[in-house]
């Protein structure tokens, strides 16, 4: 039986939703799937159990992506993206930023909260809120690793309302690398391995495997 966290890798977009498109024909949905598969192999090599929200050119809904992570008690959610513009190799880790609690809104939300079993239920739209601090810490560790390998990257993670993260009831981070605007696609795709390795190191710093099992598939 597997022990330890489950890492849910979420390659953004898919299917008819290409995400960012470059003039060279590079599309975000393909690049993030490639990075996702490399990241999966890297994490499995480190002993993590990994699941992906998509393994092909499908486009699960935001809710289906979140539901996959929410089905596990000890999950870490990583959403992968590529920007439309920007210098090649600029990388950023994002954590979800909710607005400051607003009394009128909060009153309505509180009325939606119900108790289930021994635990308090969380409104689906606000599922990420209780994990905000853990997500910020995970984003910080991932950003530190990215900064070491991609010199143009900032030294701190960025708060942003990334849709893929909102309904995830687990530490959740989105990572974006720039960009599909490169004239030669290889300039970006050649960074996939380094990008994935940096993210894997950030995850390992956040939630180390208790007993690494080398060679575990």
């Amino acid at each position: 039986m597997h022990v330890g966290p489950v890492v849910v890798i979420d390659p953004g977009h898919g299917g008819t939703d290409t995400g960012a498109r470059g003039s060279s024909g590079l599309v975000e949905k393909d690049v993030v799937l490639q990075v996702g598969k490399i990241l999966r192999a890297e994490l499995e090599r480190m002993g993590y159990r990994v699941v992906m929200t998509r393994n092909d050119d499908s486009n699960p809904s935001y809710e289906d992506r979140a539901a996959l992570a929410n089905a596990y008690r000890d999950a870490i959610f990583l959403s992968l993206h590529v920007s439309s513009t920007g210098a090649t190799g600029n990388t950023r880790a994002y954590f979800y930023q909710f607005p400051v609690p607003f009394q009128a809104t909060d009153t309505s939300l509180l009325s939606n909260v119900v108790k289930q079993g021994s635990g308090t239920a969380i409104p689906w739209e606000e599922a990420q809120r209780p994990f905000a601090e853990q997500s910020r810490r995970l984003a910080n560790l991932v950003q530190i690793e990215l900064m070491h390998r991609f010199s143009q990257s900032p030294n701190a993670p960025t708060p942003a309302a990334v849709r893929n993260l909102r309904s995830v009831a687990a530490p959740a981070v989105a990572v974006e690398i720039s960009s599909v605007s490169v004239s030669d696609p290889i300039a970006l795709t050649s960074l996939s391995g380094l990008f994935a390795a940096s993210i894997a190191r950030g995850i390992a710093a956040f939630r180390p495997m208790p007993t690494p099992v080398p060679g575990l598939p």
């Binding site: 975000e28 993206h81 289930q116 849709r163």
Partner: protein
């Protein structure tokens, strides 16, 4: 090869060549037409759009937040006639944000995007409704979409002291994302300089133009292994 066949082949080759040349020319003309239609539309809007002017307008330095690089916005003070009415003031500031961009590099909101409506609910929620171009012409990406949101939010909070949070609509509807990444289903904080803590009014009622609250039952999940919401 018979002479007739040679002549037929020659004519066919010439016809194909003429056809290809014509197609390329037609394609170029169509592209040019599309570009000129877009810029014509923008020019027409700029000429015909009624200038937002109210009796209480006073020329003053407005802080408009345009891009300063790919990941941040900074304030530029521009002389602008601003109304004492917060709603009109908000419209004036956002119109300036779209129309008065100093340079293409500083642009955040797409040139073809329009502010369709702007109003402030009595609970302090500002609603900014933009045309479809906001979604369709903003470069897809977390960074680029966040830049758009930041420019709108910072421009509003520095020129309109009343609202405390912002809702962005696209063509009168709540959009799932701005251009594939940044969540528009929620609200964005507005923190006017020197603002007192917000005092929401629970009895506030939205104007007729605003979407009614959804009557859908609450969607909840339990930590670890809950069902996904009904869709």
């Amino acid at each position: 090869m018979p002479r007739d066949l040679k002549i037929a082949l020659g004519i066919l080759t010439v016809a194909v060549a003429v056809g290809l040349i014509s197609l390329r020319g037609l394609h170029r003309r169509m592209q040019g037409l599309a570009e000129s239609q877009s810029s014509d539309e923008k020019a027409r809007r700029e000429v015909l759009a009624p200038e937002i002017s109210t009796p209480s307008d006073v020329a003053q330095g407005a802080k408009i937040f345009w891009a300063a690089g790919e990941d941040r916005v900074t304030a530029t003070t521009v002389e602008l006639a601003l109304s004492a009415d917060p709603v009109q003031r908000g419209k004036q500031a956002l119109e300036a944000l779209i129309a008065d961009t100093p340079s293409p590099e500083q642009r955040t909101i797409p040139a073809d995007a329009e502010l369709l409506a702007f109003y402030i609910l009595s609970d302090g929620t500002a609603i900014a409704d933009f045309s479809d171009a906001l979604s369709s012409e903003t470069p897809s990406g977390i960074e680029s979409e966040q830049l758009v949101v930041d420019s709108i939010a910072r421009t509003l909070e520095n020129n309109v002291p009343t609202p405390r949070r912002l809702k962005i609509l696209v063509h009168g509807q709540e959009a799932e994302t701005l251009a594939g990444h940044v969540d528009l289903t929620g609200f964005f904080d507005l923190n006017p300089p020197n603002a007192a803590p917000p005092v929401p009014e629970p009895s506030s009622v939205a104007p007729a133009a605003s979407p009614p609250p959804s009557p859908a039952p609450p969607k909840t999940l339990a930590p670890g292994g809950a069902p996904k919401p009904r869709r």
